[in-house]
Each structure stands twice: as structure tokens, then as C-alpha cells.
Amino acid sequence: MTDVKRIPLWLDCDPGVDDAMAMALMLALPPYEVKGISAVAGNVELSKTFQNARNLAAFFGHKDVPVYAGADRPLFREPRTAYFVHGENGLGNVALPASDAPVEQLPAWDALYEAAKAAAGELVLVAIGPLTNVALALMKHGSLGKLLKRIVIMGGSASWGNATPAAEANIFCDPEAASTVFQCGVPIVMCGLDMTLKAVMSPAELDRMGELNPTAKFLRDAAQHGLAYSQAHGIDGMALHDPTAVLYPLYSELFSGEEAGVAVETKGTVTYGKTVTDLYSDKQFPFKNALVLLDVDREKLILRVGEILSRY
């Protein structure tokens, strides 16, 4: 094991039910050297995402991983939450014990920058909430764009949106931040709806997963609130939006996609927050800045998730 190079990783998140599963997976994968977790306002307010992130890390047995608070609102637009999916507490209204880990005082953008410097160009950033923290880190620390190896984003869509007809929820929560991140020069992997809506865990699979152990049972229970919402919107199961982004750096063979130019619309009326890609258009952008994932081997993904969670 000692000669296997671990991947230094940073997770920026807004837990969030599927963020919780993403964290559980990440913290059970020894090849990841998790340098830190930062919380951002998104699915629910920052006070809740921060507490949730702390409590989840402790619940998953990793009080040692520092958790930082970031932005409590988007750069410009009004905050937008998603209680209808994630419940009042952000975790499907399932309570967790409070973490007694020390409360980190450094703001998320400074902590991320310090970790990137320490990792000397190897840090992989996985961002699964609105991109406010990441944008602020890039704005404050000019060299961060040269220090990150890759940014794996859960967000966007090369076709249709789920927050509006044109925009996906994470990007729609902070389009200006997303625009900054897509232009930052770091290679981006976009885990958008094109792929994540194919990464659906069926209710039966979710139930089977819940039998594994208390950790998996918690994730199953937390997902129930959102499941009803998904089913009302034609998705029979839990789309593993955030978990796919966390698994990508280690299991890229499960996914397929195409290099594309991606720009974020920040001035449109009905397209505000749309990730415009040139994948299918005759007209191409003069740049390629992202690998847009379009498909996933669903069966293998579900197996992999079960296998990783069974380690708890």
C-alpha cells in the first residue's frame, strides 16, 4: 500500500442528502487523502450545511478531517434553497449527533488555498454545491488556478435544467460564481444532469443498501424525503448527483464524456444559469475548458457504491 500514491482531495459541499452519501463514499476510500471539507450555502443555509458537514464527518468516523465554513450567500443573486428535496435540516429530517471536533476558524477559501499550496499542484477539488466558495477562493488567491490539478463539479447540463428549464440547480444557485470557475483555466470535469440523471439508484436498491450497516441505513433514511419529490418528477429513485462527482477521480472508467467548450449564461432572462456547451452545435466556442460527462455504467456504479459503503 505504501507505494500507491494517494490522491489529495478537497470537498466543497452543501449537505444535502446526496452530499451526505458523497461524503460517506469519499471518507471510506483510502486512496483519497482528504485534506479538508468546506461548506457553502445551497440546498439549505450555511449554518445548517456547515453543521451537517461537521456532524457527517464525525458520524462517518473522521473527526480528523477539518471542516470549514464558507459563503453564506451567492455572490450576487438572492439565496435559493431546496428544502423540498433535502428537508428542514438538509438531511431528510434525520437527526445526527453533534460533532465535538474543534470548530475551524479559517474561512473556506483560505483553507482551500493553503491545502492547494501544500499539495503542490496535486490537489483535486470536488465541488458539489453552488460554486460560491470556489469562486471566492479563485478571486482572493490569484495563484489558486495554477495550483489545482482538476476541479470535478456536480452541476450544469448540456441539455435541460432541473431548477429552471434551462438551468441545473447548483449552477442556478450562483451563476456568476459558476462562470468564474468555468473560466479559471483549471481542467474541469462536469458531472451534469446528462450523466447524473442516468445514475439513479432505484428504491429497491436503496432499501437493500440500507440493510448493510448503520451508516448505509442513515443514508437510506435521509433519502426518503427527497425520493417522494423525485418520483413526483418522473425519476424513480435517487439520482446520485453528488456521489458520481466524488467517485470520478478514482473510478473514471465508469463514466464517458466529451471535451467541450462550456460557458455559463449570467445575463439571460429564461436562460440565467444555463451551462452552454458546444457539444452538439455547428458553432464551436474557441476553447475547450471541460470534460462534460454524458453517460455512466449505472449497474457498476451501484455495485461500487454498495461495496464502498459496506466497509462501514
Binding site: 441539455s159 435541460w160 449570467t266 445575463k267 439571460g268 457539444l279
Partner: protein
Amino acid sequence: MEQAKKTIPVILDGDPGHDDAIAWVLAKASPRLDIRACTSVCGNQTIEKTTYNALRICTLIGNHAPFGVGRPRPLVAQPIIAPTVHGKSGLDGPDLPEPDFEPCGLDAPALMAKVIEESDEPVTLVPTGPLTNVAALLLTRPDLKAKIDRISLMGGGIAYGNWTPAAEFNILVDPEAAKIVFESGIPITMAGLDVTEKALVFPEDFNRIRAVGNKVAQVVADWLEFFYGFHRSLGYPGAPVHDAVAVAALIKPELMTTRDLFVQVETAGDFCKGTTVGDWYGVTGQAPNATCILDIDRQGFVDLLVEAVKAYD
């Protein structure tokens, strides 16, 4: 059986353009369609050129329905033309007969209004260019909406564009007009890029059309050759005859796979001006306003074109 079906009174409104031209050839050949008027709009080329081209096409196919000329520019936006696709004349390629008739003297929206007003039954509009004329009609004569049965248009794309990554040419040229049309409440059939880039006519099909032998068949084959030149350079295996899909959808709807969607038009934005946004996941809760064509029986479409040119024997 075809003859037993009721005929549909139509107004053809286009910016010819090779694919507009083929759309009109298809329309004139069909006993299902009764062409009540033709109108020109600026788009692929200036209004002078699209008007001249339209009159020559009508002359070629023996269509002398009243002709109305459109305005020289979009409602609000600056004009955009597409000489890279259609050539300097807007309809480069084969020689065409000079026009053997004159425009009727009414501007395009006024002619549309007159035809609709005088018709006993509701009229279907078939716009295959920017929606400038149709929007001008709807803005100035909202009382006639109830007498417009349907608007079967070529434009937009519910997932992507062609002239910009997000916007299709016809909608991009006059986004404000498109917004008016999509918000009009009139039933819309949208032949967008989702289907029209699948409505491919391959080089071997050109030969099939040419082999029909008559003058129109020769010209259509030449138009296809020219139109394919641009698309071949982009990697297309054939010529996407966009505009003909809006006509084919009326003549032979069974060739089409459709989905009813709520579609909005973006008129602002850095990257999305002219984008038609389809509510694929139903997040707005709004009722659909457009029947979006998503796929086509390509072979059936080509067969329809071949049959159409045979009508000119």
C-alpha cells in the same frame, strides 16, 4: 387515401434559401396543401435577395398565389445573413427562370391578414425563416389568432443551436419575433434542429431525385449538391433539409416523433440570445405550447421528396 383527407390552406413564409426552396417544392406538389399566399422575409439573405429568390422559385414550380414582400430587417434586432451556407445570392447553384409575376403590392403581414380574413376555414402558417412577418401579423391583428389553425415552423432547437452554441439561426435573427410567436397561444409545431439535423438527404439520394428527370428534379438535385457542400465541410453525411421538415410535418405527420413541451425564447443573454428553451423535465408546471418534433423517419422523408419532384413531370 391521401386525397380523401381534407386539404390544409397554408401561407408559406420564408427566406429562400436552399432548404426553403425545397420546402416550397414539396408544398406545391402536395394535394394536401392549398397554398393561399407566399411571403418573403429577410434572413439567409437581404430582403431584396430572398424576395427575388422566392419569386423565381414560385415561377419554377408554377405557383402564382399572391406574393407579399417582408420588411428589410428584424423587428428589433440587427440583421444577420448566412452567405456561407446559401451563397452570395442566397440561393446559389442552378440557373432559375426569371420571375414571371409580380408581388401583389401588400406587405407580407398585410397579405397574411387578408388571406386569413377571407378564408372560410382557419389557415396554417408555415414560416421557414425568421419569424418577423408572423410576429408583425400577430401584433397588428391579434383578432385573427383564432383563424390561425397552427404555425408549423422551422426554427430553434430544444437542446442546442447552430449559429451560436445555444441558438438556431432563424430564432437568433429575430428573437423578439420568436418570443411573440411562442407566447401567442396558437398551436405550434416546431421543427427545430433536434429533428432537422436528422432530416438528412444523402448524396445517393441526390441521384435518385435527379433521375426523376424533369426540370424541377434537376434543380432540386443541384440545390442539394450546393447545400451539402457547406454541411460536408462540417462533417455532415448529407444535407439537412431543415425547412422541408416543417412542410413534411403537415403532409405526412406519421413520419415524425414528437413531444409536447413548454418552450420559451431567450431574447437577452451573453450566450443564449435566441435560444428556445424546452421545459424537458416539467419544472415550470406550465402547459405545453409547442409540439416539438424530435425525430423523423429519414427514409420516408427522402421518399416523400422523390414523390414530390415526380409531381412536376
